[in-house]
């Protein structure tokens, strides 16, 4: 077992006993997904950073209430997402989430022609622009599920809704996005 990373339940148990190195490992392990989730909710990297940090502090203080055997990731996401929503609400300002594509992104390892690369990049940009233009509710559920790759349970935790609501909300959001894509294709 030496050298093998500890699983979440081991880390939680150690952190609950006061082992700060174990909690540090939890923070390192989940800081990216936690920060990005907060970013999707706040639309601001500064607010996302504050929410992520505050969320990790609150989670640390609530460790003794963490139910043994439960999944750590949805629990953390719920705490941080609550923090992010509170931040948006209390500041009274809501930044429009504006996701962008990485410059020069090349999917896969094939070597397509320069024309094919340009067309694919253009399609991706158009699709992302359509997602950015959706209502906040639609954008949040699509970004959580597809861009952050959260599970249904995690999306529910991040958005503060029931898992069943995630399914119905996602289905409606996809239908609206599809209609816009088709409209643009036929235009």
């Amino acid at each position: 077992m030496e050298g093998r990373p500890a699983d979440d339940s081991q880390l939680i148990e150690r952190a609950q006993r006061g082992d700060s190195a174990a909690y540090e490992e939890i923070v390192q392990r989940y800081q990216q997904i936690v920060f990005r989730t907060a970013y999707v909710i706040t639309g601001s990297s500064a607010d996302a950073e504050d929410a992520a940090q505050e969320g990790f502090v609150k989670a640390y203080r609530a460790l003794d209430r963490f139910r043994s055997g439960a999944d750590l990731r949805p629990w953390l996401l719920r705490i941080v997402a609550n923090e992010a929503r509170n931040r948006v609400r209390s500041s009274g300002r809501r930044h429009q989430l504006e996701l962008r594509l990485t410059e020069g992104f090349r999917p896969g390892d094939a070597v397509p022609s320069p024309e094919a690369v340009a067309i694919a990049a253009d399609e991706r940009r158009r699709l992302l622009a359509m997602v950015n233009a959706l209502s906040e509710e639609d954008r949040l559920v699509i970004a959580s599920r597809y861009f952050l790759q959260l599970s249904g349970e995690e999306t529910a935790a991040a958005l503060g809704i029931a898992e069943g609501t995630v399914k119905s909300r996602l289905s409606r959001a996809l239908a609206r996005l599809k209609a816009r894509v088709e409209e643009a294709t036929h235009a």
Binding site: V27, Y146, A162, T165
Partner: protein
């Protein structure tokens, strides 16, 4: 042409996310050490208060500030000793995350149900209202009671009983999932309404709110808790009470 879901999934690796801060752990560690939450605005507010407090501590600057504010005030130095108390000052429920402080009348004007007030406890000392998005849909009202005869007051919060109310439905399945091995629940009846007596040290509580969403809440006092469903209003009593006391208080609600 790949379908829409495949295209969206493929986009995930092409998103230009802002760089994840690498110093989150340092912030958490510092917060644990100092007991401060690292909120830039809170720190700024503390800094302003410290500066202002320091200025007020010195007679010349204090009088100058009074002059600027056009206050004709005499500052008196009192010799009385503060009452020793382990409790922090300020409203009882302020640190419990119950929402915004309000009054019974104002809370009543913002929620759809008639707020249940247990006569056995008398009027609440404080009232809080939590609305969406932090509260459940339809809102949540919490009545805070300080010292009450025959009920132990929490040494940490100064609260003896919390009564929390929201529109929704309590669900037995959630209890079983969330209570953990240290807590037990028992079906009871309060004024003819179905309810549960949760003994042990439960920390979390979940119910289905009026929009059908599952709302998870922390049980602030982590004590034995009585929950009952008053015609679609989930009422929760937390406090160091016996089962009989809680049932009697619950039955006096109206």
């Amino acid at each position: 042409m790949p379908d829409l879901e495949e295209q969206l999934t493929a986009l995930s690796v092409a998103i230009d996310w802002p760089k994840t801060p690498s110093h989150l752990w340092r912030g958490v560690r510092r917060s644990r050490t100092e007991g401060l939450q690292l909120n830039r605005w809170a720190l700024a507010a503390v800094a302003v208060l410290v500066i202002f407090g320091t200025l007020l501590a010195y007679t010349p600057s204090r009088e100058a500030i009074a002059g600027w504010l056009n206050l004709h005030t005499t500052f008196l130095r009192t010799q009385s000793q503060p009452t020793p108390s382990p409790l922090p000052s300020g409203p009882l429920g302020e640190r419990l995350g119950l929402g915004s402080p309000t009054t019974l009348d104002k809370a009543q004007s913002q929620v759809s149900w008639k707020i249940q007030i247990p006569a056995a406890l008398g009027p609440p000392d404080e009232v809080y209202l939590k609305l969406p998005p932090t509260g459940p849909s339809g809102g949540e009202v919490t009545l805070v009671y300080g010292q009450r005869p025959d009920i132990r007051t929490s040494g940490l919060t100064g609260v003896s009983v919390l009564v929390t109310e929201a529109r929704g439905k309590a669900n037995e399945t959630f209890f079983q999932k969330m209570l953990g091995p240290d807590a037990t629940f028992e079906p009871v009846t309060v004024n003819g309404h179905p309810g549960y007596w949760i003994a042990g040290r439960p920390h979390m509580f979940a119910f289905t709110d009026s929009d059908g969403n599952i709302y998870t809440d922390t049980l602030r006092l982590a004590t034995d808790t009585l929950i009952f469903d008053d015609n679609g209003t989930v009422v929760r009593l937390e406090g160091e009470m016996t089962r009989a006391q809680a049932l009697q208080i619950g039955a006096s609600a109206g």
